[in-house]
């Protein structure tokens, strides 16, 4: 077939970009800046005046990779405003769908976006030529996560079955059988993957983070819990804004979150793992130990190993939830609107996702506040970069760029995270 060579600048569905700027003057680091210049999206403003039951579907549109987290935080915030709490069966169903999101999101990041950094490839395409088996395994694990979301949510991306009070419809137990079989395969494949990833050589970097995550009395935190840290934080969702604040910075269209009276903190897999190692399954703990993880992680490059462990856990947890599944008596709890403020949060794959809504007596949203994980991690990303550059300024620009890109991808930041998302400027004066 004749080939017409056409320059296609880019296809539709752009998600945004980030950049980094490093300035070294006579060996002294003047600037290590991670900037997000994706246009502001004003979701909190456009929610005003909308009905409260629209929030889950509207906020799910913030992200195509973690829409279940947005739906979960939004529904839980609205349920707290309405004064309702779901029974165990409905909460189990919500957690099951969330497991699908952890599996697909982590698999995408681990196998296709981050692993190439550790194996010396420019991207997953180059890596796939030499590591076909592992890439195929990652794609298959990811697909099973997508299938689980589609089964419970109606479709894999931006699911439509979640609602305030539960679901529009609940599956029959026999509907879960096919995906259960595939999840059993995924659990074994995930275990194999932890071993593979545990063999990666990790750059040295230990930092004294404040590790912030949810913690649940019984389970590894996914969909609910209190917010804790390794420095004594222990709060409910209604206390979040008393302890954390967001600020505008000139170089970013995303806000930076900080601890009030404190500084940067870390959310995401490493914080979750470190605060909840004792909530992992025995198999998860064993796999983590075999992959070289201690009970607490402070090297940000270990995050890829933790994600692999969390894929394993999510597969196990999904299997447990399917095996104990009993259809709820009704797919949703109904409630009348009332004027109130509601708070909700969940552990998105990248970390804590907080929502707060004020609703009026007719159930219309008066104000909204959404604090995503990437906003919370921006300050930590920059502190990692400073530390890394200071330790590694002997490297040439190309090696330094690669190292810094790898460090930023430790966070799986939810902007445009394709392999070449980063433009790096190094100025040596």
């Amino acid at each position: 077939m004749a080939l017409r060579t056409v320059e296609v600048g880019y296809l539709a569905r752009v998600e945004g970009e980030g950049s980094m700027r490093i300035v070294l003057r006579d060996g002294v680091l003047e600037e290590a800046r991670f900037s997000i210049f994706e246009a502001p999206r004003f979701f909190e403003s456009l929610l005003r005046g909308r009905k409260l039951d629209e929030a889950p579907d509207i906020t799910a549109r913030i992200c195509g990779i973690c829409p279940v987290a947005y739906q979960t935080s939004a529904t839980q915030a609205m349920e707290s405003a309405l004064g309702i709490r779901l029974d165990d069966r409905l909460r189990a169903l919500r957690r099951l769908m969330f497991c699908g999101e952890w599996i697909e999101s982590h698999a995408l990041h681990v196998f296709l976006l981050h692993a190439p950094d550790f194996l010396g490839y420019d991207d997953a395409i180059a890596m796939a030529r030499d590591h076909r088996e592992e890439v195929e395994r990652g794609l298959k694990i990811k697909k099973i996560g997508n299938e689980l979301i589609a089964l419970l949510g109606g479709r894999a991306v931006h699911p439509i079955n979640a609602r305030v009070g539960g679901f529009h419809s609940a599956p029959h137990p026999r509907d879960l059988a096919p995906v259960r079989e595939r999840l059993a395969w995924a659990r074994d494949a995930a275990l194999e993957s932890v071993r593979w990833i545990g063999g990666f050589e990790l750059p040295e970097l230990e930092r004294d983070y404040e590790l912030v995550s949810l913690r649940h009395p019984e389970r590894y935190p996914i969909d609910e819990g209190r917010l804790v840290s390794n420095r004594g934080l222990d709060i409910g969702a209604d206390e979040f804004e008393a302890h954390f604040e967001e600020e505008q910075v000139p170089t970013s269209t995303a806000k930076h979150a900080r601890r009030k009276g404190g500084g940067a903190y870390l959310v995401g897999p490493m914080a979750r793992y470190s605060n909840n190692w004792d909530r992992l399954s025995p198999l998860g703990q064993q796999a983590a130990a075999e992959a070289g993880l201690g009970r607490v992680c402070r090297n940000p490059f270990q995050s890829i190993v933790v994600r692999a462990v969390e894929i394993l856990y999510a597969c196990e947890e999904a299997l447990r939830l399917i095996d104990s599944y009993e259809p709820p008596e009704a797919p949703a709890v109904e409630a009348q609107p009332r004027a109130a403020v509601g708070f909700g949060w969940s552990e998105a794959p990248r970390g804590v996702l907080y929502h707060r809504y004020e609703v009026d007596v007719e159930g219309r949203i008066v104000s909204a506040n959404i604090v995503p994980p990437t906003a919370q991690n921006q300050a930590s990303i920059e502190e990692d970069l400073r530390e890394l550059v200071l330790r590694n300024q002997h490297l040439d620009d190309e090696a330094l760029r690669r190292l810094c890109e790898k460090a930023i991808r430790n966070y799986d930041p939810c902007i445009s995270c394709a392999t070449h998302f980063l433009r790096l400027e190094v100025e040596r004066r």
Binding site: R4, V6, R13, I65, A126, C414, S416, H420
Partner: protein, 145 residues
């Protein structure tokens, strides 16, 4: 040779619906090949096309006039011609190149890309894009058995 497959890609946002509209028109016209619509995660394409000769239709932005129809085939690498702008998910060019690296490209793969301009929620595709949709439909109906 297995039955030919046409996959329309896109979303409901303005001109970005171009690929989906082509797929719907082909189905309405009773196209003698299988026609699918695909939204969201493009990695799923590897499962859809498997070993069938495949044509993809999507919207694109190159700076050309609105409604311009670009036709590419995947005989040679596409990444250099399709800038990697897709964000967190894998973009189309990268999915195609990943499939090539894994040995999972279909026996033939052609991409029709319709030059798009407007991507607002709730907006209709422009007149130029609608004309291009019709032209791609007729081309595919005329070309394929």
């Amino acid at each position: 040779m297995r039955r030919h497959l046409v996959i329309g890609l896109g979303s409901g946002r303005g001109d970005d619906a171009a690929g989906l509209l082509v797929a719907r028109r082909l189905r309405r016209a009773g196209a003698p090949f299988e026609v699918l619509e695909h939204r969201g995660d493009l990695i799923g394409l590897l499962e859809l096309w498997r070993d069938r000769p495949t044509t993809l239709v999507d919207a694109a932005m190159t700076g050309a006039a609105e409604g311009t129809i670009h036709c590419l085939d995947a005989d040679s690498p596409l990444a250099a011609r399709l800038a990697p702008v897709s964000g967190h998910a894998f973009g189309l060019a990268r999915v195609i190149e990943l499939a090539r690296a894994l040995g999972r490209l279909p026996p033939s793969l052609v991409l029709y890309a319709i030059e798009a301009r407007r991507f607002a929620y709730g907006s209709a595709p422009s007149m130029h894009v609608r004309r291009a949709v019709r032209a791609v439909e007729l081309t595919l109906l005329g070309k394929m058995p």
